[in-house]
């Protein structure tokens, strides 16, 4: 009896604090000097919540933002990825991006199999997100939404992937500014008041070559046995500062120079708060970089097929703020860097539109595989708006002078005003080669109400997406998400010999034949004038008759009226 009571008490004690689902916040800043002297800063805030959002039984939100939690539960969202980007990541010069997004707004969502009307849920989702992030995501409709079949596989837990549950849309014309950053910051548990988020000041972040902020929500395994599901929210912000233009020509940088702020403490709600600085030696002999203050530890990892060394500053360790109240990480170049030793990334791509006139044109995509001996396949996803009519019979893929037939093609032609073109191909890239993919198109005439208020700016074609498993030089071990830096666990790793890369090409700006919008007004004026002059004079000629009028003396009423008119100063009757 007594034993039973003790056991029951123990169980209650264990279940008591566990009633509120456990949520954990980790924040991290990765500072990587880029090969040409610029600096990339990647912020990641990861909230992991051991709750089952789908059951709808959740009512108490602590670190996980309520706006997103309720969205996921109400609309049956399995995975959500929203990115707002300004600028373009120059892969050839800067290297492989940790996480790239196309210019503008990109939204891709996997819905749960229980959702019956995916299009309706998609429309509602884009409207709600447009309200949360102050972005014009309500312009996402069937004319810019596609359902890819091979790209954009789920990044979280998934059992069965029916691609009809996936929706992908890009708004290339979307602008990112402070009004998008403010709600993004408000979703963070500490806001922008403590921790790494104090560095996020709009005036510095938008004075950059590349700014990308994203929200990623996905379900993950709660533990190794994967019996229960946890939800992970990652908020990432990548910014590339041009240190030459803002650093008076010197490549040395510091946190204060970049953000005009320094770090003073960690977010009290975070279980981990770290700053990683990439100090990997570019050539194996000497160290090029010197970081001050001395880091709390040094971490080595294999990231994207490369062995890299990081100086780690743990904001939660008490020794960091011993000497000074604020942490200002500074980096100095010990010797000037040769521009000749810029490493080229294994996979990079370029896209451009060619042709002349306003009737036809050609879109060309060049994909480079610079690996010396390994070939690998890449999935190319192109979404072209319906008003550029693609001629698929002109699609040519040429590698090293020979035709390269893709092993998988999925083409969905556009329907005017309903659906864009979707072209997905799996192309094998031979080692050390350039693959050129060209397709011709014709420009359509839009109805005059369909033009934007500034049609002479041009119309955007959103970026192509390249997804590939790039072979890596060094074998990579499986990462334990909970104990390794966040930037190593962005994409699930399949095996140690390759790493997943998703690249985006440039968006294209195409001019459509634009009418003269003042013509309706001109036509109305001209027609009315012609009608008035011609018909009016004709009518007058036919119906106007002339009478001679005798001037009459008039009666009393007329005389009274004339008196009043005299007073008024008006001529008499």
């Amino acid at each position: 009896g007594g034993m039973l009571a003790v056991v029951v008490l123990l169980l209650l004690a264990a279940a008591g604090p566990g009633r509120a689902e456990r949520d954990v916040l980790r924040e991290e800043l990765l500072l990587s000097p880029l090969p040409d002297g610029d600096v990339a800063a990647t912020f990641q805030f990861r909230t992991r919540w051991d709750a089952d959002l789908q059951r709808g039984s959740v009512s108490h939100y602590r670190l996980f933002p309520k706006a997103l939690g309720r969205l996921v539960a109400a609309l049956g969202v399995r995975e959500l990825h929203l990115a707002l980007t300004q600028g373009f990541w120059r892969t050839r010069v800067w290297g492989q991006p940790p996480l790239q997004a196309p210019a503008g707004a990109e939204l891709w969502v996997w819905f749960q199999p229980t959702v019956t009307n995916v299009d309706k849920a998609w429309k509602e989702l884009s409207n709600i997100l447009s309200g949360i992030f102050c972005a014009s995501l309500n312009f996402i409709d069937s004319t810019n939404t596609v359902t890819p079949t091979a790209s954009f596989k789920p990044l979280g837990l998934a059992n069965g992937t029916d691609h009809h549950l996936l929706r992908y849309a890009v708004l290339p014309r979307e602008v990112v500014c402070t009004e998008n950053l403010t709600p993004w910051k408000k979703l963070l548990p500490c806001g922008s008041k403590a921790g790494l988020a104090v560095l996020l000041k709009a005036e510095r972040l938008f004075h950059s070559s590349y700014h990308s902020q994203a929200v990623h929500i996905r379900p993950i395994c709660r533990d190794a046995s994967c019996l229960a599901v946890s939800w992970e929210l990652r908020q990432t912000l990548t910014v590339v500062f041009d240190t030459f233009s803002s650093g008076q020509g010197k490549k040395d940088w510091s946190l204060f120079k970049m953000f005009s702020r320094t770090l003073t403490d960690a977010c009290p709600l975070a279980s981990q708060s770290k700053v990683y600085v990439d100090i990997s030696p570019k050539n194996k002999e000497k160290e090029l970089l010197e970081v001050t203050p001395p880091p709390t530890s040094v971490h080595e990892a294999t990231v994207q097929g490369d062995k890299r060394t990081y100086a780690v500053y743990d904001l939660l360790s008490p020794s960091l703020f011993n000497t000074s109240r604020s942490l200002n990480v500074q980096l100095k170049w010990k010797r000037p860097q040769d521009s000749s030793d810029l490493p080229t990334p294994v996979l990079h791509a370029q896209r451009y539109v060619s042709g002349y006139g306003l009737q036809t044109g050609e879109i060309s995509t060049l994909i480079y595989n610079t690996h010396p001996y390994r070939a690998f396949p890449v999935i190319l996803l192109e979404t072209v708006p319906w008003y550029l009519r693609l001629y698929v019979h002109t699609l040519t893929i040429i590698t090293k002078g020979k035709e390269n037939k893709p092993s998988y093609i999925h083409y969905q032609p556009a329907q005017d005003r309903k659906r864009p073109h979707l072209l997905e191909m799996l192309i094998q890239l031979p080692a050390n080669s350039v693959t050129k993919i060209t397709i011709q198109f014709e420009r359509a005439l839009l109805k005059w109400t369909e033009y934007t208020p500034d049609p002479n700016h041009g119309f955007y074609v959103s970026s192509s997406v390249l997804s590939a498993l790039v072979p890596s030089v060094i074998a990579m071990k499986d990462v334990d998400v909970e104990h390794s830096p966040l930037f190593t666990s962005l994409f699930p790793s399949s095996d140690g010999s390759s790493y997943f890369v998703r690249l985006y090409t440039e968006p294209l700006l195409v001019n459509l034949p634009t009418p003269d919008f003042s013509m309706p007004y001109n036509v109305i004026c001209l027609t009315c004038t012609v009608v008035a002059v011609c018909y009016g004079s004709f009518y007058n000629l036919l119906t106007r008759t002339f009478h001679v009028e005798e001037p009459s003396r008039g009666g009393l009423a007329k005389r009274l009226a004339n008196i009043i008119r005299k007073f008024r100063g008006v001529p008499p009757l």
């Binding site: 300004q86 429309k123 509602e124 409207n127 709600i128 447009s130 309200g131 949360i132 102050c134 972005a135 014009s136 309500n138 312009f139 014309r173 602008v175 990112v176 500014c177 402070t178 009004e179 403010t182 709600p183 000041k201 709009a202 005036e203 972040l205 938008f206 004075h207 934007t452 208020p453 500034d454 919008f517």
Partner: protein, 234 residues
Amino acid sequence: MAAAVPAVGWFHAAATLLLACCSAALASGIQDQAEQFFRSGHTNNWAVLVCTSRFWFNYRHVANTLSVYRSVKRLGIPDSHIVLMLADDMACNPRNPKPATVFSHKNMELNVYGDDVEVDYRSYEVTVENFLRVLTGRIPPSTPRSKRLLSDDRSNILIYMTGHGGNGFLKFQDSEEITNVELADAFEQMWQKRRYNELLFIIDTCQGASMYERFYSPNIMALASSQVGEDSLS
């Protein structure tokens, strides 16, 4: 004779007294009306701030709207009660030498864009249709809350519009216009649906006074920065 003079004098006195009373009553009537305006029983405030111009050379219109936005926020109306419509993005425009800032004065002291701005309708969303839908409340059901004017019959609403205008119309985004008749009808719809208690309409365009010529709903006070026939270099 002596009896006639006092009679005439009495008549004059009575007439002047009557006249004085009438004028006093009239004057106090107008005074009363003006005072009444400040004695209304409203319980909440809303603001609809619209900038209707696109392109970099219309930077000043965005700066105008943001100045009013900052004043209105400083005086206590929260973001949830402000519908801000900016037809173009000036702060993060590639031509802006100081990104994420908008200044309303050439000495560039005060950044009216600030760190905490919520733009509800941006860029191509600022159209005559959306503006009228916001005012009248006839909005598609999927519109988020921040884009709605959720006023009731005890709300005082400030409507501020700036841009390029003419005699009887205001230009939206260089491609369409809203006329003073449409605006008056929209306000009448608002009155009939009891969507406002009092309305303060401020218009900052060329020939702005023409925009309030056709108002026929009660409880509206309108201000314009220029008379008909005048250019407002706003």
